[in-house]
Symmetry: C2
Subunit: 404 residues, 2 copies
């Protein structure tokens, strides 16, 4: 089994034929098929699969707890119509690295585990890195169990329907205590490596970021009879806010995005009584992020005032700035330099399970070049040669971390 073999067996699962993108939402049929693929792949490599209390999948080489384990992996769930690489590349590369170590007859001095964290994208239940947050105690399990998807199904119900006992979800200190180091390989979601002509980079840290929900409340009226002056149109207040957010992000050299919006009542001939919009905001440091979100909130309040609309803004999730473990980072850089390449060190605006785990265990990341920078899109792509370079880098890192 090599990278391509493992990759191609996962590729058809959860792909939408029309868009060419993936719809692998946690605890759905597509997710269950990804999980079955994980167990089959683990089994064929002689690894023992375990699903932890929070729905994260583990494939163990060696006995957990005998020594602190070297863990590598990523996630299998996707955003709506996401690409093939975001998440799966890390899991497939982890299995391919284990296959390579097996072929080299490597004898690990401590356990190695491949992990696939649940609901990393937050596409179904709205909270990113939900599996790793639950495991590390970064989210209250009672709150998490009551998170609901777009159809009103709770996480607890979705887990129960998938045969899991949601009552057990929550901090798993025993499991966290068994982890000596976590290395997550991920496709880059920008073009920095491409600009540096480097196939692989090492993660420096993660920008602080969060998600805010803005609720604009106007008044539903007939679109054909209500004078402009009598309107309280929530859509117009939202539209002005979306444009202001872009300007504020440019001024703060940061990022602000409205990617999800729900209009009520949602009829073409009714003025919106409400618009719910989700702001994704990220910046190089927390002070800048505060300034950015403050400006957008103020712009939203002003726009709401102009249109006779009420506005509320609430933070739905927040991830503080992460600096990856400098010892692990330097050790990975040393290994890869010895292999012949000096990998660049990259910050990223994207959240990752490794960023969540970094609060509890030494964690690091490897990035694989993305020639277009496109991500969260069916057009997301990495060249096979770069993926193979990534597997070789990960193999060398695992051999070093798990070696004698």
């Amino acid at each position: 089994m090599n990278f391509t073999t493992i990759w191609e067996r996962l590729l058809p699962i959860g792909r939408n034929e029309r868009s060419g993108g993936y719809r692998r939402y946690s605890w759905t049929e597509a997710d269950m098929a990804c999980r079955a693929w994980f167990a089959r792949t683990a089994s064929s490599l002689g690894l023992r699969t375990d699903c932890d209390r929070n729905g994260n999948l583990w494939a163990w080489w060696g006995r957990p707890g005998s020594e602190q384990a070297v863990v590598t992996g990523s996630h299998l769930d996707s955003v709506p119509d996401g690409g093939a690489f975001d998440g799966p590349l890390g899991v497939v590369s982890a299995f391919a690295a284990v296959a390579e170590l097996r072929a080299l007859d490597f004898q690990p001095a401590r356990p190695i585990a491949v992990v696939a964290f649940a609901e990393e994208e937050g596409a179904r239940f709205g909270v990113a890195c939900l599996g790793s947050r639950l495991m590390t105690g970064a989210i209250d399990p009672a709150t998490a169990r009551e998170l609901r998807d777009g159809d009103g199904v709770s996480l607890a119900d979705a887990m129960t329907a998938a045969g899991r006992n949601a009552a057990l979800a929550g901090p798993d200190d025993e499991l966290v205590g068994q982890i000596g180091a976590l290395v997550e390989l991920h496709i880059e979601q920008g073009r920095a490596l491409d600009g540096l002509s480097a196939p692989v980079g090492i993660g420096a840290g993660i920008w602080p970021h969060g998600r805010w929900r803005l609720d604009f409340t106007g008044r539903a009226d007939h679109a054909g009879t209500t004078r402009l002056a009598d309107r309280r149109d929530a859509m117009l207040a939202f539209a002005a806010t979306a444009l202001s957010a872009r300007d504020a992000a440019a001024e703060c050299a940061s990022l602000a995005t409205f990617g999800k919006v729900v209009a009520e009542p949602g009829a073409a001939n009714a003025i919106c009584s409400a618009v719910h919009a989700w702001l994704d905001a990220r910046a190089a440091d927390e002070a800048t992020l505060d300034r950015l979100v403050g400006r957008i909130g103020e712009a939203a309040r002003q726009a709401a005032g102009r249109h006779g609309v009420l506005m509320e803004i609430n933070r739905e999730s927040f991830s503080p700035a992460v600096s990856f473990d400098p010892v692990l980072r330097d050790r990975m850089a040393g290994v890869l330099s010895a292999e012949g390449s000096v990998p660049p060190l990259l910050p990223t605006g994207a959240g990752h399970d490794a960023g969540v785990l970094a609060a509890r265990v030494p964690a690091g990341m490897l990035f694989v070049r993305n020639p277009t920078g496109v991500s969260h899109s069916p057009a997301e792509h990495a060249e096979l040669a770069d993926c193979e370079t990534g597997v070789a880098a990960l193999t060398a890192v695992l051999a070093d971390l798990a070696g004698r």
Copy 2:
């Protein structure tokens, strides 16, 4: 049976407990319950209920075709979370007027019919006045059968599931030929009558209006890693267009509304690859409407250009200007003036089945005062006394039109 009795039996059907608004979409369970109410009410008034080939409901007093009939009614379907009055007030008032004529032992010289047209709001299949358009041949039946709701269900399938033969849908010249006059009573969807201190008005005509679909196509990218300069964010192009539409409407003394918007992929952490938005535009005359939509289209093209996004605009429906039959209008005004009030003559920006029928038969409208002007909202309201004045006006008009 009086107005209140008939009204209160309809009131609970299809009401959403949370919003207090109505979700009576055609051919759904709520609609079927409304239809059952129609048949029960008709039966208790000694009227014979018939469902025509296009799903419009008729309750006949007298034999259709014996003489040209006097028809009155409106529709029972609603916009999402619509109010209780828009549509139902006309049907309930029609039954109440028939009850009044029965109580007066009125002997009609020609048939009287109460009608409830199907899918007037277009809330399920996207085309307003679908039932009356099909009946009068204003829409191709093959096209109509293939209209789909948000879940991809076609009109044909929805009708079949409700026990109707969708293959028979289409122009019904025999039925249209049996109509001598149509009078639709409707709640006003503005505040003109309130300003004139008049409980009831007569429709002058309907502004030309239509619905346009704007498709903005950008590129899905990761919200946390894609530089502002690299983005092709469809949401920003839409937002700029929504604001421009408001400005253009003000300049043209007309109306433009975006009440429905769908963002793709629709994840909070993905830049929008596409935004589909529906423009509702109305103006006093067709030249002004053309100018308004032209300006909005041009603004959308410019916004799309600024954000590296493609834009397409397509007309989904159009209703030309309607002037109600002047003979019928004058006759109604004469009857009501003889009753003691001189009703004002009102133009309206809202489409109605009476506007569709006006192309084929003498048609007119009565409006009942709406003290707040609010419509297409759970807050829509008319005072009981005004509703009763409306019933009295309709009773007098029917007695005149159907009398000897």
